[in-house]
């Protein structure tokens, strides 16, 4: 009886905390959307100016793109414990998928399906939602191709190889304007513009930020839902077990390669969605944007927020995306104006991120909102250290 009581107390608690988070974030997001859509124009100019400096709608949308990708990386790094330094490769696959299937890039053909763009425009124009799925599948497919040979490696070596892939894939796209006479990626010129998102018969152009915000939020919410569901099931348990002790996991009948590969593929899948979303956010695909720093920033978001905890990762991603896109330039301008200096603050963003990571490792190793389990692991060494110190 005591046991069943205990169990009853435990489960709803977790579920309740997840529900609270979900409801709070949804209300905040809807509030932000309503404010920018309906109230923003009616506010005084000073308020509008303040928002343009400190919290512009485009930054909000971009933050959500980062959230989607960070949640994907969280599955790889946070759940399965595989250090992936090349996540940008999947972001790039997703982006180019959007470039190929929802723009006029392949103008040798004229295929339209569910898209809002005029039928006369050549190129492949598919529905945004279909492109999401295609992008995710392409990225997931390459995740498996890349993962199959590399996931046999142990932690540090895996990180090195993924780092290599993260460099190679964007290079392929950068130099992909003439692959045996075939223009794959339009090279450094990139692919632009991509089609507007069509939803409920509405055509969302580059300036329909509010509606895009809602769509991005919906996709991020889907990612959260998927993450939580997988986490609670058979596969999530196997990932955790592998993160803790690979050998013991395999001795308990967990197929290591297959389970890790699934984590990698699911991560890549979400990276593909994130990449395609990013393409619709910046309204184009530009090869030089897919650089190493994206992989590192994503990893920093996951670590900062709290590996393995979706809510922590969301907070980490929002915070760092804001600092990167708006916070640092805005703080810098304020600083420069106040002290009459000319310091280029945004160019120091990596110094700042690096500093934050070092401080985190020193003082708050579990991240801002740590997962209960992880908290225990990272403090285990403290105990051991103090034990040996005491003897």
């Amino acid at each position: 009886m005591a046991i069943s009581l205990k169990r009853k107390n435990r489960k709803p608690k977790n579920a309740a905390s997840a529900r609270q988070w979900a409801i709070t974030l949804t209300i905040v997001a809807l509030g932000i959307w309503a404010f920018f859509t309906y109230l923003f124009d009616k506010t005084p100019d000073a308020v509008q100016a303040w928002f343009q400096v400190w919290l512009p709608p485009s930054t909000l949308n971009e933050s959500l793109v980062w959230v989607i990708c960070a949640l994907g990386l969280n599955i790889v790094v946070g759940y399965a414990g595989l250090l992936d330094l090349g996540f940008v490769a999947f972001w790039a696959f997703g982006g180019y998928a959007a470039g190929w299937f929802m723009s006029g890039f392949f103008n040798q053909v004229n295929i339209h399906f569910g898209s809002m763009s005029a039928k006369t425009i050549p190129g492949i124009h598919l529905s945004f939602w279909l492109v999401m799925i295609i992008a995710a599948l392409i990225a997931g497919f390459f995740g498996i191709i890349i993962g199959a040979p590399t996931l046999r490696l142990k932690s540090d070596y895996l990180a090195l190889v993924t780092l290599g892939f993260g460099e190679i894939i964007p290079q392929v796209f950068t130099n992909g304007e003439n692959i045996g006479g075939f223009n794959l990626s339009n090279g450094t010129k990139g692919i632009s513009p991509v089609d507007a998102i069509g939803v409920f018969g509405k055509r969302l152009g580059p300036f329909d930020l509010g509606w895009k915000f809602l769509i991005y939020f919906f996709l991020a919410a889907c990612m959260v839902f998927v993450s939580l569901r997988i986490r609670g099931g058979r596969l999530g348990r196997a990932w955790l077990a592998i993160r803790e002790d690979e050998l013991a996991a395999s001795m308990m009948g967990v197929p290591l390669m297959r389970t890790k590969l699934t984590a990698y593929a699911v991560g890549a899948f979400s990276g593909g969605i994130g990449g395609a979303v990013y393409a619709t956010h910046v309204n184009g695909i530009f090869a030089e944007r897919f650089n190493f720093s994206i992989s590192i920033i994503l990893l920093a978001m996951v670590v900062l927020g709290g590996m393995g905890n979706v809510w922590g990762v969301i907070v980490g991603a929002l915070l760092m995306a804001w600092i990167n896109a708006t916070g640092l330039p805005a703080i810098g301008d304020t600083f420069n104006n106040t002290f009459h200096t000319e310091i280029n603050f945004p160019s120091y963003n990596f110094l700042l991120f690096g500093g934050i990571l070092v401080l985190m490792m020193l003082y708050k190793r579990d991240g801002l909102l740590p997962e209960a389990r992880l908290k225990m692991i990272s403090h285990e060494n403290d105990d051991e250290a103090s034990n040996t110190g005491g003897h």
Binding site: K6, R229, G236, D245, A248, M251, G253, V254, I377
Partner: protein, 259 residues
């Protein structure tokens, strides 16, 4: 009695070092047998061969009528060869219940898509798995710890949890690697009964590596002695106790006279 797991002429070489030399060994169905020998005799290496962690340089491992020598560890485990570890290897940040459920991985059918969609069949399966895990924890006597993190359990409970986790594989053979290490004599004697219960109630064949001679003599139906990678004796506890080669190589004259 037919054997459930048998090793035939196993030799393992690491570089030039011969860790196990031409050892043959049987675990009879529903039997309790022990593997003993001084440190470095090759016991754990032999265990690792049986579970597929190491591959023998020559020889075969047969399980339930089929050869498993070349299989990867997780296939051998899900076929029904379960083990515990000398130095406890639980998933510390998972609850006792989750630890047990990890070992059910190969029995469960949940798919990625099904889990995401939360299909009724998968919910049922998950619920049944949870109940089975609870029952196993009850069986090993730590039912109250189901929702506690494995790391926070006491040493004895951790050892029991390792057994519960191994049993979740629904094994036909259970390999226990020094299960009484760190236990006091009273706990050890409780453990002997526990081993009998596992065999009698679950019908599982058991192989132990054990240093505690009192436990070995009490629990085993047959004992195999390894020394420096070679099998030097095999027989009933009484035979082993009086075998001069064993006394000389392993027990030492003082201990032998003491009994």
């Amino acid at each position: 009695m037919s054997s459930i797991l048998s090793a035939e002429n196993i030799t393992v070489e690491f570089g030039g070092l011969v860790a196990v030399n031409d050892v043959s060994f049987d675990i009879p169905e529903k039997g309790i047998v022990s593997l003993i020998g001084p440190n470095g005799a090759g016991k754990t290496t032999f265990f690792n061969i049986l579970t597929g962690l190491y591959k023998p340089t020559s020889g075969h491992v047969m399980y339930d009528g089929a050869e498993i020598t070349a299989l990867v560890p997780h296939k051998i485990a899900s076929a029904g060869v379960a083990r515990t570890f000398q130095n406890i290897r639980l998933f510390g940040s998972m609850t006792a219940e989750e630890n047990v459920m990890v070992a059910m991985h190969s029995h469960l059918k949940a798919t990625l898509a099904g889990t995401i969609l939360g299909l009724p069949s998968q919910r049922r399966e998950e619920k049944a798995a949870r109940e089975e895990a609870r029952a196993l924890l009850e069986f090993v006597g730590i039912g109250k710890t189901a929702t506690e993190f494995a790391r926070n359990l006491s040493y004895g409970d951790q050892r029991r949890l390792e057994v519960a986790r191994a049993l979740a594989l629904r094994p036909k053979v259970l390999l226990l690697d020094e299960p009484t290490a760190g236990m006091n004599p009273q706990e050890s004697s409780v453990f002997v009964d526990f081993v009998h219960r596992i065999r009698d109630e679950k019908g599982i064949s058991i192989l132990l590596i054990e240093h505690d001679m009192a436990v070995v003599m009490k629990v085993s139906e047959r004992i195999t002695v390894l020394d420096r990678g070679e099998k030097i004796a095999e027989g009933s506890p009484a035979e082993i106790k009086s075998n001069p080669r064993v006394i000389e190589a392993y027990l030492g004259k003082g201990v032998g006279a003491g009994h």
